[in-house]
């Protein structure tokens, strides 16, 4: 199964990298959905079925949509979708910083001795998950609910235009 994982990982990384390097924002967003789906596939592979579908539902179904809307709303004309190339200096510095982090992380991972994995994949049923969410993690669940509500309202307030045009109601 390592083979499957490798394919998934490769696909995910590639699409992510390409998406962040593309000049066309729409393409970036669409490619990223592939990357996110890859992550979902990884979850599925790892046995976290529920999380995988939640990932798809939220990232592919919702966040990508929001991103696309945002892209469309922040462009004057169609040609603006492609954005100007970045300054070389920043790209270089970013690569250096990112590379340093990557190196450090890789080094850390490789040099760490990790426990051997259990022989069988853990099984997580949705029912158990639900019980866990509702009893020990109920408070967190409530907080997240509140957070989402607040985020929804906040986003609406931030993005809504001030109502200046009451007179236009003439219809």
């Amino acid at each position: 199964m390592i083979f499957v994982l490798t394919i998934i990982a490769f696909l995910t990384l590639a699409t992510a990298a390409v998406a962040l390097a593309l000049r066309n924002l729409i393409h970036s967003a669409l490619l990223l959905t592939v990357s996110w789906s890859g992550i979902a596939a990884f979850y599925l592979w790892a046995g976290a079925e529920f999380v995988a579908f939640a990932q798809i539902l939220i990232y592919v179904g919702a966040i990508s949509m929001v991103v696309l809307f945002a892209v469309l709303l922040t462009r004057r004309s169609r040609d603006d979708f492609a954005i100007a190339p970045e300054s070389v200096g920043r790209a270089v510095s970013a690569l250096i910083a990112g590379g340093a982090v990557l190196g450090v992380l890789f080094g850390a991972v490789v040099s760490t001795r990790l426990p051997d994995p259990p022989t069988s994949a853990p099984v997580v049923t949705v029912r158990r998950l639900g019980l866990q969410l509702m009893s020990p993690h109920a408070a967190a669940l409530l907080v997240v609910g509140a957070l989402l509500t607040v985020a929804l309202l906040g986003a609406v307030v931030l993005a809504a235009t001030a109502r200046r045009d009451a007179t236009e109601d003439a219809g």
Binding site: I26, L30, T33, E49, F50, F53, A54, I56, L57, V60, G61, A62, S64, M65, L68, F69, L72, R78, T125, V126, R127, D165, E168, D169, A170, G171
Partner: protein, 429 residues
Amino acid sequence: MLQMTLALSASACRSLLAGASYLVELAKAWRPAASSDSLLERAPVMLRDAVTGFLPEPWRWFANSLIAIVAILAVFGLLFAYLTLAERKILGRIQNRPGPNRTGWFGLLQPFADGVKALTKEDIVPANADRVLHFLAPVALVALSLLGFAVIPFGRQLVPIELNAAVLYFFAAGAATELAVFMAGWASHNKYSLLAAMRALAQLISYELPLLLSFVPVVMLAGTLSTTEIVAAQGGWKWGFIPHWYVLTPWGFAGFAIFMVAALAESNRSPFDLPEAESELIAGHLTEYSGFKYALFFMAEYFGMCALSGMAVTLFLGGWQAPLPFLEFIPSYAWFAAKLLALLLGFIWIRATFPRLRMDQLTRLAWKFLVPLALINLGTAAFWSLTHDWAGPLQLARWGVAAVLVVGPFVIMGRTLSAGVAPRKYRYA
């Protein structure tokens, strides 16, 4: 040499033994005493096992899946074909005209004629279009629409994939179709297409909410996200003749109604067919499509419709369960098909009956009526679940309260809704 012979014979023996045991297994499956299911009931599974049973384990799974996919494609492809015909015939009958009746007897060959026509038409791609996306959009749409079928239990043993979170999977796949719609609209490099795609997205997102909320009570009451278990939970009869289908409870009925309305909107069916209606933004995101790609869009719509209907059957109408105990001898997939067809007929009927909604009415219906109603319905279901041990006269009270909780908000919010049907005041006209 001898060794070789021995080895060969041993392997031959082994394969023989394997074959014998396979036959024994098959025979076991055939034996009626093994289960109470009728022969007809077990026929599809046995057929599949007969084909794939000899394969080693990982491959057998793969082959089983393939067979399931092929079966679904075949059945629903055919269904799609004849559904278009049925729709045209029924619409025709309702509008007092015969409908297609030239191609083949009773117009039965009409779908194939249409298919051939679509295949042979020129595939036009606009000059400035994003070619890749323009191509990918219908493909992705069809592919994603098909995904949903994977978890619908078509019969007692006929479920392509047993998933723990099947319902979630279904809706996650459904949510992804929005991307394809956007791709179609954007890639066409056409102002109207893009606008229509945005509209369609707004509609899809708006109605996804009541759609999701309406089935949550089912999940709550059944205590599972697995479709087979949900269907199993609806088995049995009260007093021997009233099935335990969720649609027959107050909250279930409300949930079913909301689900069906939202499903209509999700599959862009009339009266919610703004995104693709010809008179609205010249057929919207389909403007720049023709030929087979257009047919693919069409196909995806019908697949989506079928998938959602199948889900509605599963969630609310008892899935493949027979309505009455003595009707159980009819195989489960037949019941499923009957229910599915009945719902599809309903889709067509509605299309023939209702006028199209305006954009503002459409969104208002979703946000101001269906979503609150679904939320209240959630509370009703919670009440229902908490009072499951009420018996005797309390049972009547339970029904009464639940009915009031369903009907009351419907009436109250329905009043405000009908106030919204009045001519719109245009703020940005």
